[in-house]
Symmetry: C2
Subunit: 406 residues, 2 copies
C-alpha cells in the first residue's frame, strides 16, 4: 500500500505556520506498514492543487489532504478533490452534516449560508464527522484507483478525526509494535555505533532529543503476538549491548523514571545547581506528582553563595576554583547537611567551555564525575542536566561505581 500527503494552505507557504499534520499522518502510516511516497504543500490555488492531485490519482492507494475545508472561497480542497475524481454532478447536501451546522450556528441564516458548503459531498463519499469543529472530512473513492481522504487543517481536529473517525476505514498492511529505549550517558554517535542498524524487521533506529539518546525498535507481523515476540527478542539484544545504560523501555522521560524510583522508596531529592541554574529541579517539577519527592532546591551560581548556602570552604574555592571535583564534593556535603534528602544532586561547570562536574549522593554512596561537551552554552547546560538524571538513576539502582566505564 502506498500513500501521498498534501497539506493545503498559503499560510504554510508564507512560512507563517508549521505543517504538523503531515508528520502526524506520516508517523501513523509508518506504524501501519503503509509506504509514504511524498508530502507536498501547496497554496490555496485551485489549478495548482488540481494538477498535483490528478498526477497522484492512480499512483497511490491513499491520498491524504489536510486543510482547505473551511467555509471561505479560499478553501478549495474539497472542490478540487471532487473535480479531480470526476464527481462534480454527484454532489448533494448531507443532511446529518447540515443538522450539525444548524445547531452550531443556532440557525443564524447568514452564517449558515456561508458555511453550507461544508455539508456538501459527493453522494457516495464516506463522511467523517467533525466532533470538535465545523468542517467534516470525507473519503472519496476515485473509481477504486485511489481513495482521497480530506481532513480539516487545525491539528487538533485532524488528529481527533484521524483516530476516531478515519482509522476504521484504513486498511493496514500489518501490525506494527514499537518500543522506545532510553539510553544513559552516551552521545548520539556513541550510542548508534554500538548496534547493528541494518536489521529490517524489527527495525532499530537511534534518535536524539532534548533529553538525550534513545532507540526505537519497531516490529512488523501478522498479529500482535508475533510482533511482540519479535520486539522482545530485539530488546534482549539491546539490553546485552547497553547493560546498565538502558534507563527505561517505556518511552518515559528520565525525570519520570527517577521520580518513580524515589516514590517507591519514599525518598526525597534536593539539588544545588550552578551551571544548570535550576534546570535540574525544574525538569523534575515538570512531572506531575513531583511534590511527593522534591521539597527544596538551591541555585548557587556564585562562589559567595556556594560558601553561604552550601558551606563550601573558601580555601577550596581559592585553591581549586568552583569548577573542580573538590568543590563538587563539598557542595554535595553542604546540600545534604541542609536538606537531609536521600538523593542529593549538584552541578558546577563552565557552560561556555562545555565543562561540568556532576555530583550525586545517594544514602552512603557519593560520586562526582567530570563531563566535557562540544556544544553551545545552552546545550552544554541541558546535557549536564540530562547526565545528572542518568547518573542519579544508575546510582539509585546500585549500578554505578567509581571508575564506571561507559
Amino acid at each position: 500500500m502506498k500513500a501521498q500527503i498534501f497539506s493545503v494552505g498559503t499560510e504554510i507557504l508564507l512560512g507563517n505556520i508549521t505543517d504538523t499534520n503531515s508528520k502526524y499522518i506520516a508517523q501513523r502510516l509508518s506504524e501501519f506498514g503503509i509506504d509514504l511516497y511524498k508530502m507536498v504543500t501547496v497554496g490555496d490555488n485551485f489549478d495548482r492543487l488540481l494538477k498535483e492531485l490528478k498526477n497522484a490519482i492512480g499512483k497511490v492507494d491513499y491520498i491524504f489532504i489536510t486543510g482547505g475545508l473551511g467555509p471561505t472561497e479560499d478553501d478549495i480542497s474539497k472542490e478540487v478533490a471532487i473535480r479531480a475524481s470526476g464527481k462534480e454532478d454527484k454532489v448533494v447536501i448531507d443532511e446529518e452534516s447540515k443538522k450539525k451546522l444548524d445547531s452550531y450556528f443556532k440557525s443564524n441564516e447568514r452564517a449558515l449560508s456561508v458555511n453550507i458548503k461544508q455539508a456538501k459531498f459527493p453522494k457516495d463519499a464516506i463522511i467523517l464527522p467533525n466532533d470538535i469543529g465545523t468542517a467534516p472530512g470525507c473519503i472519496i473513492d476515485c473509481d477504486n484507483k485511489s481513495k482521497i481522504v480530506l481532513m480539516p487543517g487545525p491539528p487538533q481536529e485532524m488528529k481527533y478525526m484521524f483516530e476516531n473517525k478515519l482509522l476504521k476505514y484504513i486498511k493496514k498492511e500489518a501490525v506494527i509494535k514499537s518500543k522506545t529505549l532510553r539510553i544513559a550517558l552516551l552521545g548520539e554517535w556513541d550510542m548508534a555505533s554500538r548496534i547493528d542498524l541494518h536489521s529490517t524487521n524489527p527495525t532499530i533506529s537511534p534518535y536524539f532529543d532534548d533529553e538525550g539518546g534513545f532507540l526505537r525498535i519497531s516490529a512488523k507481523a501478522e498479529s500482535d503476538d508475533k510482533a511482540l515476540i519479535l520486539l522482545d527478542e530485539k530488546e534482549k539484544e539491546v539490553r546485552e549491548v547497553f547493560g546498565p545504560l538502558l534507563l527505561s523501555d517505556d518511552g518515559k522521560r528520565k525525570e519520570e523514571t527517577l521520580i518513580d524510583l524515589l516514590k517507591e522508596r519514599k525518598e526525597k531529592v534536593s539539588c544545588a545547581e550552578s551551571i544548570t541554574g535550576g534546570m535540574v529541579a525544574s525538569s523534575i517539577i515538570d512531572i506531575a506528582g513531583a511534590s511527593d519527592v522534591i521539597e527544596e532546591s538551591y541555585v548557587t551560581y556564585s562562589d559567595r553563595t556556594k560558601e553561604k548556602i552550601l558551606n563550601v570552604s573558601y580555601e577550596t574555592l581559592r585553591k581549586y576554583s568552583a569548577v573542580s571535583k573538590e568543590c563538587a564534593y563539598e557542595m554535595l556535603d553542604g546540600l545534604y547537611d541542609r536538606t537531609k534528602s536521600a538523593l542529593c544532586i549538584i552541578t558546577t561547570g563552565y557552560a561556555h567551555k562545555g565543562e561540568a562536574f556532576i555530583g550525586v549522593k545517594y544514602k552512603d554512596k557519593k560520586f562526582v564525575r567530570e563531563f566535557k561537551f562540544s556544544a553551545s552554552r545552552n546545550k552544554a547546560r541541558r546535557w549536564t542536566k540530562n547526565r545528572a538524571m542518568d547518573l542519579s538513576i544508575l546510582i539509585m539502582r546500585g549500578m554505578y561505581e567509581d571508575n564506571f566505564d561507559i
Copy 2:
C-alpha cells in the same frame, strides 16, 4: 521570482522528525518578495528525487534542497542535483572543502575516504562553506534556467548557512526590512486582536513561541532608507496600541532585556520558585553574562520549605494556603531578607489548574498578581515564567502600578 523547496529524508516520511527547514526558508523568501510555489518532501530515493527535480527545473528561479548532504550512500541530494543539471562530467574535488574535512577528521584516513564526497562539486558551482558542520552546501546553475541551492539538513547548520553564506547570492525582489516586537502579558489572540493585520506594506504578523507573543513588522521598498521609514511609521502605531506592554523591538529574549536592565543599574536578582520550580532562575542563567546579575536562587516547592527557607508563617499557609496573595507577599519578604537583591521574583501556584501568583519586589515597590491559564501543566509553568519576566521588566522600568490594566 519563484521558488520551490525540497526536503529530502526518509526519516521525515516515516514521521520520525519534523521538517522545520522548509518553514524557515519559506518565511525568509516571503520576506524577500519571492513567491514559493510548493514544498515537497521525498525520501532518500535517487530516482524519485531526480524525477521531481527535473520537473521543477525551468519552472522556478530557485530550487532549495535541504538534507541528504551527509557522507553515506543514503545521502543522495547533491548527486541527484548534479545529474539533473547535466554536470556529471564536470565534478571536481574542491580543495578548500577538502582542507576543512582534513582538519576536522584530523587526517584520519578512513573517515576522510568516507567523507570525501562532501568535498566534490561541479566545477562552476558556488560553494557555501559549512562553518558548524562537515557538509558544505552549494549553488548549481542549471544553464540559467533555475538555480539549485543545496543545504545541509540539520536546522542549525542550514540556518547558519542560509544567513551567512547564501543570502548574498539571493536576488531579492525588493528590500525588505523587519522588526520583531516582543509584547508582554497578552495571550496570542488578545495581542493579535488589538491590531489591524490587513496592512500589506508593511505587513504585520502575530507570532507565539515558548516566550510568549511577538509581532513581526516587515516593510518592502526600493531602498533600505525607504523600507526603514515605513517600518518606523508602523512601529509608532504599534507603540500607541501596546504602550508599556511593548518589551523590546530588537527580537531579544525577555531574559536578555531583563539582564541588560540589571547590568546597567549594577543590580542583582534572586528568585524563590514554587510552581516554576527553578525555571525562572534557569532561564536567566541561560543567557551569557548572567553571572553579573544572579548569585543565588531558591526552589521552595513544599509548604515546609516555604516556612523554613522564606519564613512564611504557618498561619498564612494554614489560613490562605501556599497558593495565595498572602503567601506570595510573605515569600517576597522572606526572599529579600535572605538575599537583599534589588529584584526579587517569587512564584506559587497549581500547575495542573493553571493558577499562579507571581510576586515581584523591586527596591521599594512590591507587587503580586494572579494569573489563570487554560493550558497543560507544563505550558502553565512556562507561561508563569514568561509572565514573571514581563512583570519584572515593566516594574524595573517603572511602568507598572497596582491595578495595571492590560
